[in-house]
């Protein structure tokens, strides 16, 4: 601040506190609601303070079953989500770091064509080509499988684009020096390039993990067997019950559990997260 005006500073803090409060409000209500006994929602509004059923509700959802239409405990869904998120993250990083390496550090026929084939995927999010992608997965017999959940979402060039930008800023002298010292391309990749891009990989990991964990539409349409359900999409089957007889306390527990891992990643690795966001938009 240029001038020292205490009331102005107080006003800024006030607005920020109100903002923080409003942003947190829905989570607070869900948290309080998740500790209420089953019948307490029928009688009107959600109580604004904790009930006494917290431990029972959370334990029930985690270990017994998530709700009337979902006869599977949430820890299993958590595991599925984890497999999917890590599969997408690691798969994407692995295939795109090597292809970006080839595109930047080698000259070979059809390099331009290959570049464009890969980068055209930036134009089309899964949501837009959803019906034909489903048919392809069905033809390949990959419905209700982890590979069906993971592979189609790896087909995107965002990570390749990022690594390409990062590799292009590496000075040519480094390659020259490595070659004079007798290091081949494989050695150069593992001993020089990988250590140099550690922070970039970590930042990308954070962003991709959130992206993978939060997938909703894709798992929703290709899984019909609830042993392959992911946590985020399972919320849909808990909400679409006949007669609108929703078990709200269980829905709230599941919602909070489903958002906890990615939120923890963002808060715990805030620096990497911010770097990843800014890089991804360059």
């Amino acid at each position: 601040m240029i001038e020292n005006r205490p009331w102005l500073r107080f006003f800024s803090h006030l607005i920020l506190v109100v903002g923080v409060f409003l942003v947190a409000l829905p989570v607070w209500v869900a948290l309080v609601g998740s500790t209420q006994p089953e019948g307490s929602f029928n009688s009107g509004s959600i109580p604004m303070w904790f009930g006494d059923q917290g431990v029972q509700n959370w334990a029930h959802v985690l270990f017994a079953e998530a709700g009337s239409t979902l006869q599977i405990p949430v820890w299993h869904l958590l595991l599925n989500s984890l497999v999917m998120a890590l599969g997408i993250t690691l798969g994407k990083i692995a295939i795109s770091i090597v292809s970006a390496y080839a595109i930047v550090f080698f000259r070979f026929p059809f390099r331009g064509v290959i570049f464009w084939i890969i980068f055209i995927t930036l134009m089309l999010p899964v949501e837009v080509r959803i019906v034909p992608t489903y048919q392809v997965i069905a033809n390949l017999d990959m419905l209700n499988s982890y590979s069906g959940l993971i592979l189609p979402l790896i087909a995107s060039a965002t990570a390749t684009f990022l690594f390409r930008q990062c590799f292009m800023s590496i000075p040519g002298e480094l390659v020259e020096a490595a070659r004079i010292d007798g290091a081949g391309p494989i050695r150069f990749f593992f001993d020089i390039l990988l250590p140099m891009s550690r922070t970039n990989i970590a930042a990308l990991f954070v962003i991709m993990f959130i992206y993978g964990w939060n997938q909703y539409l894709w798992p929703l349409i290709i899984t019909t067997d609830d042993t392959y359900y992911t946590l985020v999409m399972s919320i849909k089957s808990m909400l679409s019950v006949p007669d609108g007889d929703i078990q709200w306390n269980y829905v709230m527990v599941t919602t909070l559990l489903a958002m906890l891992p990615p939120v923890a990643v963002v808060v715990g690795m805030q620096k990497l997260f911010v770097k990843g966001l800014v890089d991804a938009e360059k």
Partner: protein
């Protein structure tokens, strides 16, 4: 880069995994979408017939498609405008405070990590006509809330849910933008006697315009394509199509209506829209480099 490795076969091996994945899970389905757009399937999915541009003609004569376009426009611009305005305000406030900037940042960025589908559920709970505290409060002051019956209220609910998630993103970029403005400029204006209100509109806001424009494009793309979950968990396009956005309609017509030709034609139109937005984004980024 001007120095390259001389190997001729290795690079093909390196790009192979990504090429295979792209071919199977991107080029094949995208090609299918293009083909299907020119075919029509019968109701049982037994036979296909080439119909030329008929799917597109039908699409652009369908009043429901125009309604969906309008809904998408209203939804996207509301989300973008609201998200940018709230985030800018909060970022300006956070830039002013001396202590606690990082604390506020932490407390404001976490919604980015919440899945759109879950954001929809969280706000549904607040606005549920039977149990939602906000809905009950609105009822008490004489505004009857039921987003299952009232189209405008359904729209408000999905706009709030979608915006809530995006504020954190905009906030981060605005805060970075504000911190990049040279202090001396603002100090000079202050010495000349400009009030803090005038300093904001005449100096800070114009200097932030590249960030604002960038965020506008990103927010529109977000509202177009990444809000499927919000709509599917809360309103499912209803009531009476009042929240049926273009992306939601592709899914609905393709999977529930089983009209693969019509759905594919819609996909093609959406592809054109994404392409246009990507070009705008790239153009803008080129300009930013010069700036």
């Amino acid at each position: 880069m001007s120095v390259y490795f001389p190997q001729k076969k290795l690079p093909y091996l390196l790009v192979l995994p990504q090429l295979v994945i792209t071919a199977i899970f991107f080029l094949w389905p995208a090609g299918q979408a293009v083909l299907q757009a020119f075919y029509r399937e019968d109701a049982f999915g037994l036979s296909q017939q080439f119909v030329g541009l008929e799917n597109f003609v039908d699409l652009f004569q369908d009043p429901l498609y125009y309604k969906s376009m309008m809904v998408t426009m209203v939804f996207s611009f509301s989300v973008a405008f609201l998200g940018i305005a709230v985030a800018l305000w909060l970022a300006v406030m956070a830039d002013r405070v001396i202590r606690g900037k990082m604390v506020y940042q932490t407390l404001l960025v976490w919604p980015y990590a919440v899945a759109p589908a879950l954001a929809g559920v969280l706000w549904w709970i607040l606005f549920d006509p039977n149990i939602g505290p906000v809905a009950l409060f609105l009822d008490r002051i004489g505004l009857h809330w039921n987003h299952f019956l009232d189209g405008d209220q359904a729209m408000i609910l999905v706009v709030i849910s979608a915006t809530w998630k995006q504020i954190s993103y905009n906030f981060l970029f605005f805060l970075a933008g504000l911190q990049a403005i040279p202090r001396s400029l603002i100090e000079a204006a202050a010495i000349d006697g400009a009030s803090s209100f005038k300093r904001f509109w005449d100096i800070v806001f114009p200097l932030l315009s590249p960030t604002t424009f960038f965020l506008l494009v990103v927010n529109l793309v977000y509202a177009f394509f990444e809000t499927f979950g919000v709509i599917d968990t809360t309103t499912q396009g209803g009531p009476d199509g009042s929240t049926n956005t273009l992306v939601y309609k592709v899914f609905k017509d393709g999977f529930i209506g089983l009209d693969s030709g019509g759905s594919a034609a819609q996909s093609i139109v959406l592809m054109a829209i994404v392409g246009l937005m990507t070009v705008i984004q790239f153009r803008f980024i080129e300009r930013k480099v010069q700036y």
